[in-house]
Each structure stands twice: as C-alpha cells, then as structure tokens.
C-alpha cells in the first residue's frame, strides 16, 4: 500500500492473524484430538495440547484397520481415493484436451452441434443424471470397481471449454508454420499444443484432483464393499449416532490424513498453478 505507518501495518496484521486463527483452529483441534485416546476425547473438556498417543493412533488407523468400517485400514482408503482422484483428474484432462482439439482445429460436419452438445452437459450435473447413470453402471457390473467410480465423472464440459478458449488464442500462423514444417495433426498436438498448454493442464489438474478427492454422492452410491470406499465415504460410515460407538480418535486421524494429499498437491504444484491462472506464456 501507499501508506505504511506502523499502526496500519499492525491493524492489517492483526486482521490477518485473527482470520488465520479462526480458519486454522478447528483443524488444529482435530489434530489435537487425533493424538488422544478415545477415553480422553469422550471426557470433556478436550485438552488444548496434543496428547501422547500420536504414533499409536496413526499406526492403528493406517495399518490396523478400523472396526466400524469392517476393519479396512485407512491406508487402503487413501489408496482408493488417490486412484479415483487421479483417474478423474487425468481422465478429464485427456478427454477435454482431445475434444477441444477436435473442435478448434478441425473442420468437420456438425462441428458446432458437437460443441453445443458438450456445452449443454454443463447444465446436467452428476446429481441430475444420477439414476440413469447408476442403472448403466449396475448393468455393466461396475459397482464396487474403480472404473465405476471414475468413468461417469470424467466427461467435463468445463475443462473442454477452458481448453477451447486457450486453443483459440493460439495464432493461426503457428498452426500453418507447423503444417509447412511437415507436422501432421498428431505431431502438432504432441510437439506444439501440449507443451503450450502445460500451465493450463497443471492448474486444471490441481482443481480436478481436489474435485475428485472430495466426491461424496457418487462414491456413496456406487460402492458397497468397505474396501472400495473412498476416504470421505468411510469417514461418514465411521461415525455412529451413539457417541460411545464411534472411535473418535480414529475419526480424527482419518480426517487429518484425508486433508494431507490435497494439500500436498496444491503446495507442490503451486508454482504451476499460479502461472496457469495468471499468464498464458506465449
């Protein structure tokens, strides 16, 4: 800012710190709870400092298995969720890259019809078409499979539109230069279009990974077996209405573990993510 008098700086920081405290405290408290025994958690008040059962709780959850969800370990849940989130993110990116490529760079009959068909699916989110989709998955025998979890969520009008907009900004001369240089459609896609789209792909990957990671309704419907659950569904199943039945310490551990991978993805891809959002690098 223009004016950096100490009072202003102090107030600004105060507001920021307060904001962070409000946002971060519940997460901290979850962490605290995940390091205490069930008895400590059930006997209020909960201490404000971490307890001594960090290693025991985490190893029990990760490798031992949680009783209320049929003894499945959190490690399995993490693996399932990673497969699903990666599958959705990568699948969506591939499909939308290819469809945007076709729509922008090729002239074929009904091109605009296809574009509008894709566009219209924006208005039909998963929730609207959930029953027919479920029926199709049952008929194909895809309940309790990774395919069943991933495929219905892959088609993405949003990502297709995003790539379409980006491809439209690529100058026609570049396409022509590639043609004169003897690059066919696949070479052009692979050698020129993909490298130019990498920041967009990275940004989209982060968003889609988190989208996939936090899916609730679809995994809830399409998985019955406990060992095919995603972590979000399993968390829900771990919690019983009767407080005494719930292994709260393990629920807290699972919650903590569930937020680690999305945070890792954001932190590791932050540089790419920000660049993808702010500049087009041309």
């Amino acid at each position: 800012m223009i004016d950096n008098s100490p009072i202003r700086t102090f107030i600004a920081h105060l507001v920021l710190v307060l904001g962070i405290l409000i946002v971060a405290f519940p997460i901290y408290y979850t962490f605290v709870a995940s390091t205490h025994s069930l008895q400590t958690i059930l006997r209020p008040p909960l201490p404000l400092l971490p307890g001594d059962r960090f290693v025991e709780n985490y190893s029990e959850a990760l490798f031992g298995g949680v009783g209320r969800i049929g003894g499945v370990s959190v490690a399995t849940l993490l693996f399932n969720t990673t497969v699903v989130a990666l599958g959705i993110a990568i699948g969506k990116i591939i499909i939308s890259l290819l469809s945007a490529y076709a729509i922008v760079f090729f002239r074929f009959p009904l091109r605009m019809t296809f574009f509008w068909l894709i566009f219209i699916t924006l208005m039909l989110p998963v929730e609207v078409r959930i029953l027919p989709t479920y029926k199709v998955m049952v008929d194909f025998g895809l309940i309790d499979t990774y395919t069943g979890l991933i495929v219905p969520l892959i088609a993405s009008a949003t990502a297709t539109l995003l790539f379409r907009q980006f491809f439209l900004t690529i100058p026609g001369e570049l396409v022509e230069a590639a043609r004169v240089d003897g690059a066919g459609p696949w070479r052009f896609f692979w050698d020129i279009l993909l490298p130019l789209s990498r920041t967009n792909i990275a940004a989209l990957f982060v968003i889609l990974f988190i989208y996939g990671w936090t899916q609730y309704l679809w995994p809830l419907l399409v998985t019955n077996r406990n060992d095919m659950n995603t972590i979000v569904i399993a968390l829900r199943k771990m919690i019983s209405f009767a407080d005494a039945d719930t292994e709260w310490h393990l629920v807290m551990v699972t919650s903590m573990l569930a937020i680690v991978p999305p945070i890792l993805v954001v932190v590791l891809m932050q540089r790419w993510f920000v660049r993808g959002l702010v500049d087009t690098e041309k």
């Binding site: 022509e176 230069a177 590639a178 004169v180 240089d181 003897g182 690059a183 490298p195």
Partner: protein, 348 residues
C-alpha cells in the same frame, strides 16, 4: 532450382466472396517475385495458395513444372516466413530451426550441421540456446528466416515479413533478404504492401488490385510506364499527380503537350517536376501555375503541396527551398515525363 507457374488461379470463399479472380504469373527460376497491393487485394491469399494453406478454387499452380493443386504444404517443398514470425514459443532457437528437418526424418548429425551452418550465415550462432521470447524483434525475424533457409526448399514464401520491424531495421533486413536470396538462388515469392520494399526487392513485380493483376514487369518499367491510374498512384512515393482532363483540355494549364484523343487523366510524378524553368525546357511539355498550400522539407529534398488546375499536386524540389505558403509558382513537366490515362483508368 524451381519455377513457379500460376495459370488463371482463382479463389472463391464459401459464401461467394471472390478474393482472387484469375491470376496468371510465371516466375522464372532463382528470381524474386514481389506481390504488392493494398490490403484486401488478394496478394496474401495468392501466396497462401502457392503454399498450400488455401485450396485453389480454379486454375493451376505448378512448382518446378509439377501441378501441386492437390498436394499439401509439406510435400510442396516450400518454406514460409510469416508476418508474426510464428516461432514455436516453447522451443529453443535451435529446435525451432531443426523441427522441420526432424519431421522429415533427417539424420541427427545432418540436422546439426545444417542448423549450425545456417545460424552462422544469419549471425544467430550465439542465440541457439535461447527461446523466442528472449529475442529482439530483429533476431526473431532472423530465426524465422533461418527456419526457412535451413530446409533448402524449392521455393521461399514471404508474407509481409518486415512489417513488424522498425524503419531502420526494416531497411537493413531488406538488403539482407535480397543478398541472401541472390546467394542461395532460391525462387521466392514475397508479399508486401510497402511499395519501397516492392521496388527494391523485386526481379518481377506484380501489382495487384481487387483480386486481379494490374501490372506485371520489372520494377523500373512499372515505375516509368504505369499501366493504369491505380499503378501510377500506388508505385512511387509520394504518388503520381493525376489531374482530370475536361474535353481534352486541362483547366488553368499555361501550355499542354499534345493530348491523345481518348485521354481522361493526365499524370506526372512529383520528382519529374521542375519549378520556375522556362524557355526551351518547356517546349511541348506541361506547364501550369500552382499555388503553394504547404511545404514539407525532409532534408535532401522538399515537397510542395500545391493547388493547380482544379486539383491537388505534389512537387518535389531538391534540398532546401525558399518557397513559402501562398506563393504562385510555374510548374513544368517535360513531354516525355507526362502520362495519359483513358476514362477506364488504363494508359493511353
């Protein structure tokens, strides 16, 4: 290396717009042909049809005696330099130049040799590891040239390659392109809207207007004998003075040369005018009184903007001038420097 032959080439866009209305040009081997004309005259479309980037609606285009209408740009063995260079932004200069060669399956060591030799010629050797965005406009231009040269194609195609450079660099690159083209002896087609570039570069100059060839020939022949009022006003800067004739007479002229019966316009170039000369020089020439409206000294010469014979004319005088706004001047153009055009705009 190769000749380029266009026979009655037409381009009709879907929707019925006719961009090129039947153009025939024969470009001899090793010569540089410049297509010049105002924007929208079809010169770029014509170039893109030679490149294979646009389909040819009618007529034939042959390169090296072979009709290439149905052949894609890759197989035509041409190289093109684009207006905005069209360098691949994510590739280093080296890869930009090597890309076309790699796609043709040339062995690695051969590619390396060619790229380095070409870079040497264009003084790009120290920039091979840079990316296009780290280069200046002039350097990018050179890389674009290098990408074309390294392929040693049958034909070079230039699409207004200098229009993004500043005036000084443009002049420099113009000379360089010309000498490079001479040295390599590659048949070239060059599109520009800049008449100075057209005049200085061309072996064969083609002036185009509204999808048709207005005049085709050696640059100086076109300058000296423009085939129409359009060419007369397009080639030369400032353009030729054109004054309308009314029933074979020019209003306000002191003396007139013999006027052909069907002439409707009289023309003379600003640089062919003499101011204040009289006597023998004016014999059989055009002489008229002009009132000075403006004076533009540019150093080596000055331009006088005048009103004469019911129209506006420009007169060039060498060096400084003492003429002031509002002066009345006798202006003279010798008989052999006066042009006549018919009512259809064609030379008579």
């Amino acid at each position: 290396m190769a000749t380029v032959d266009l026979k009655d080439v037409k381009k009709v866009y879907p929707g019925g717009v006719e961009a090129v209305k039947g153009v025939s040009i024969a470009i001899p081997d090793k010569e540089l042909c410049v297509l010049v004309g105002p924007s929208g005259c079809g010169k770029s479309t014509l170039l893109r049809m030679i490149a294979g980037l646009e389909t040819i609606s009618a007529g034939t285009c042959s390169i090296d005696g072979k009709v290439v209408n149905a052949i894609g740009p890759t197989e035509r063995d041409i190289a093109m330099v684009f207006q905005n260079y069209a360098l691949y932004p994510h590739m280093k200069v080296y890869d930009n130049m090597a890309y076309g060669l790699r796609n043709r399956g040339m062995p690695k060591d051969e590619i390396d040799k060619r790229v380095r030799t070409t870079a040497e010629t264009l003084e790009l050797a120290h920039l091979l590891e840079r990316r296009p965005r780290e280069l200046s406009g002039g350097q990018r231009q050179r890389v674009a040239m290098g990408r074309a040269i390294v392929r040693s194609p049958k034909v070079f195609l230039f699409d207004e390659p200098l229009s993004n450079l500043d005036a000084k660099l443009r002049g420099q690159m113009r000379v360089e392109i010309k000498s490079l083209q001479r040295k390599l002896g590659v048949t070239s087609v060059y599109v520009t809207h800049d008449q100075l570039e057209a005049m200085t570069l061309a072996d064969v100059l083609v002036v185009m207007n509204a999808g048709l060839v207005e005049q085709l020939g050696a640059p100086l022949d076109i300058y000296e004998k423009p085939a129409s009022t359009f060419v007369a006003s397009f080639i030369g800067a400032p353009p030729m003075n054109l004054l309308p004739l009314r029933s074979g007479q020019l209003e306000g002229a002191v003396s007139l040369p013999a006027i052909p019966a069907n002439a409707a316009t009289i023309g003379f170039r600003p640089e062919d005018c003499e101011v204040g000369a009289d006597g023998a020089a004016s014999e059989g020439g055009l002489r008229l009184m002009a009132r000075v409206l403006g004076v533009e000294p540019v150093g080596a010469e000055s331009f006088l903007y005048c009103e004469a014979a019911g129209g506006r004319i420009v007169v060039r005088v060498p060096g400084r001038t003492a003429v002031a706004v509002g002066d009345q001047l006798p202006v003279l153009a010798r008989r052999e420097k006066v042009h006549f055009f018919g009512s259809d705009g064609k030379r008579v």
